[in-house]
Symmetry: C2
Subunit: 463 residues, 2 copies
Amino acid sequence: MSKPGLPQGTRDFSATVVQRRQYIFQTIRRVFETYGFQPLETPAMENLETLMGKYGEEGDQLIFKILNNGLANPDKADRSRAALENVLAGKSSKDLTERALRYDLTIPFARYVAMNHGQLTFPFKRYQVQPVWRADRPQKGRYREFYQCDADIVGSSSLQNETELVLLYAAVFQALQLPITLKLNNRKVLAALAQTCGGPEWMVPISVAIDKLDKIGWEKVAAELENKGLPAAAIEKIKTYLSISGNNAQKATAMRALLGSEAQAETGLAELETILAQAQPFWGNTTVELDFTLARGLNYYTGTIFEVKAQGVQMGSIGGGGRYDDLTGLFGVPNLPGVGISFGVDRIYDVMEELALFPTTLAETTQLLFFHLGQKEAAEAFRWMQTLRAAGIATELFHEQQKFDKQFRYAEKKQIPFVAILGSDELAAGKIVLKNLSQGSQSNMGLEDLLLFFQQRAENPSR
Amino acid sequence: MSKPGLPQGTRDFSATVVQRRQYIFQTIRRVFETYGFQPLETPAMENLETLMGKYGEEGDQLIFKILNNGLANPDKADRSRAALENVLAGKSSKDLTERALRYDLTIPFARYVAMNHGQLTFPFKRYQVQPVWRADRPQKGRYREFYQCDADIVGSSSLQNETELVLLYAAVFQALQLPITLKLNNRKVLAALAQTCGGPEWMVPISVAIDKLDKIGWEKVAAELENKGLPAAAIEKIKTYLSISGNNAQKATAMRALLGSEAQAETGLAELETILAQAQPFWGNTTVELDFTLARGLNYYTGTIFEVKAQGVQMGSIGGGGRYDDLTGLFGVPNLPGVGISFGVDRIYDVMEELALFPTTLAETTQLLFFHLGQKEAAEAFRWMQTLRAAGIATELFHEQQKFDKQFRYAEKKQIPFVAILGSDELAAGKIVLKNLSQGSQSNMGLEDLLLFFQQRAENPSR
C-alpha cells in the first residue's frame, strides 16, 4: 500500500477546471475552423532522433526520454551497460532510449509535413491542440506537462496569411472577452538595425538583449551589449531605436528616419504596413500596435513576428508567433516557408480567472436532480429523467432512498440548480414539485412544462 | 538531416480522422454529461510506484518508463551504474526511472480519488477521455498509444447505477446510430458455478477458460480445465452452464434450475433481473441480453459485468465494464465500491467506418472559398468573408492571385463545397457569383442573401 502522489510539475484537472479549459480550447478551435484551419494530432512519443538537436543544448536536456522496454532482459545486460556508458559520455544511445515525449508541436508538425508533403494541399493550414512535456524545474505557473495550441499556414509567402493571423488572434480574444494588445514587428527591421551596428553577426546578440528590456531595463541591456564588444555609437543607435514611440504611423515614420537607408528595414516596414492596412478594417476594438522592441530572440523567425499581451493584468505574453523561411529543411524537404501563431493556454486560463471572465454557467452541468423517494417513485422519476436527457438536458436521480437533507446536500455540492420532488402525492397527480435552490422558490409542473422550462433555460441561461 | 519517421505502433491523425474521432468523443461526452458525469483529466505521467504491481507481471512489463533527467551528469555516474544493475536484477530503481506513462485510466482515477476523497461529493460520477500507452507488440488494430473513454460511479452499491450505465450505453450507440448487443452477467453467478465445481479457488481458472470460448471453442476449453485438474463432473456442469439459451427470462429460469441452490447465484440473478426491469422501458431498440458465458476473466469485478458487441460486423467487444468492491484500497482508502464502463474508441471508429456511419458533412469544414482576383477585389472579399466568419461560417480567401484552375483545385482538394467569384464586375454590382461545386450550378448573391444561404445550410446540411 503506497501513499499516492503526483509527479512534480504535473496536475490533475477536476471538473470545474476541465470545463473552463474546454471552454478556452473550444473557443480557439471554433475560430481556427472558421478560418479554414484543419486539425492535426501527432503521437505523444517521437523518435528521439526527430527531437534531438532541434531545441538548442538547453532544450535537448529538457526532453523526457523513454526507457526502452526489455532493458531488464539478462541477455541484453552487456548492451544495456554499454548503452549507459554512452549516455554518461554524453552520446545518445539507442539501446537505452530511442523514443521521447514531444517537447513542442512545431517539430512534430514539421516531421508530419516532411513525411506527407506529397499528399497535402498547399497552402496547408493546420491547427494542433495537444500537451507537450518538458523536464523544466517546476515553479509557479510552469509545469512539466502543459498544452500548446498552434496554428500554421505553410507553403505560402503571401502577407495575406499574416493578416489572417492578426484577425484570428482578434477573433479568439474577442470571443473570450479578454482585452489584448497585439504587438507586431518584423525581423527584417531588426536585421537592418544589426547591419548598421556592425553586420548580421550582431542580429542574435542584439535580439537576445532587446528581449530582456522589459525585465532588466535599458542600463543592463546596454552593459550586456558593451560587454559583447558592441561600439558605443552602435549602442547609442539601439537606444534611439528602442525609444521610438507614438501611434503606428508615427513609429513607422521615425523608423524610416533612423534606418530607412537599409533596404531590409524598408522591406520589413512595408510588410508591416500592408498587414496593418489589410487587417485594420476588421480587428474591431482589439489594440494592434507596432512594437520595434519585440524581438522573440532565440528562434528561427525571418519576417513578421507577433506577441499578445493581456490588458489590465501583470502577466507575460499569452501568445506569439512569426514567419519562418523553412519549416521542413531539417527533415529533407526544403523551400516550405510559413507563418504560425501559438496560444498560451495556461496563462490565458490564469488571466481569465483573475478577471472573472469564465461564464458562471460552466459550473452547472447537471440541471436537475430528482430526489429518490422509494422504488415506485424512482421508476416514475426515471421516465421523466429519460425524457429530459433525450432532449439534451443533464438530469440525475439520486442513487438510493435517503433522508431529504442528504439528497439536498448532494445537489448543493454538485451545484445542481434545481431539484424535483416526486413522492406518492406527485405520483398520483402526475406533477412534480420543482424547487429552485438559489431562489428558494417552487412550483408544480407536468412533464411537458418541465421539458419546456429547461429547454428555454438552455437558450437563455440567465433565467 | 534525418529521414523522418514515427515510432512503431503510433499514428498521426490527419483532419478527416481527427474530425471523425472528435465526433465519437463528443457524442460520448455529451451523453456522459447528460447523465450527470463530470470530467476528470490526469497527467500522462504517474509516479512509477503508483503504476507498478497493478496490472500483473505481464502488464508491468508493458509500462513505458521515463528515464530520469540529469542521468548523463558525470557526478552521478556511479549512481546511474548502480541503478542500471538494479534494473538488470529485476528491481526497480529510482535513480534510473521514477516516472512512467499511464497504462490505463482506472489506476490514475483510483489514485485521484484516494488523494481527494475528503473533497469529493459521493456518489462520485466521473468520466475521463485520454490516451494511454502500452509497450505491446504493434499489430493490426493494436497501438502503443490509444484513447480510453471511461465512466465510473463510486461510493454507492445501488443497482440503480448499473441501470444508468445500461441506459448510457444504449444512448451513446443510438446517438452514433451503431446497432449493438449489450451483454450482462454477474460474477456472483460465476462464483456459484466455481463453488459447485470445487470451491472459490476455481473462480479464476474457470473465468479465464470461459473467456476463451469464442476464440478456441468448447473442446479446448474443456481440455484446459481438465489439465488444471478439474473433475469430469464439474466440466460437465460447466458445459451445461454454457449451453443455457433462450430469451432473458428463459435463461434465468434455466440458471435457477442449474445453480439455484447456491445463494450467490440467486443473488446475482436477482441483481440482473432488477437491472433489466429498471432499464427495459428506456433502452429503446438496443438489444440487451443475459449472457452467462461472459466472464471478463482476469479482473477485479465482483458483481454485474458488461460487454458490448457491434451487430453486423466481425469485431471483438467495443465496450465493457463491471462492478468492483474496492477502488482505492491499494492506495490506503478502503470501502469505496463502484461500477464503471469503458468505450473502445479505436474499434468503434473501425466499425463506423466499415458500416459508413460517419455523417458525410464532417469532411466539409470550410464552406466557402473566395477566389483571389486582385488586391482590390481581395480587400472587398475580406469584408464578405469576415461577416460570414463572425456568423460561425467557415470561409477562406485564396492566399494570392493565381490562375482559376489552381484556385479551383484548392477548393476541390479541401472538399470546399462552394466558391465565390468576386471580380471587377461583381465589385461594381455588389454581388458575388456563388458556384456550387458538386452540382455545377451558380447564382448571383448579395452579402445578406449569402449569409442567409449558409445559415440555412448549417441548420439543414443536406441542402
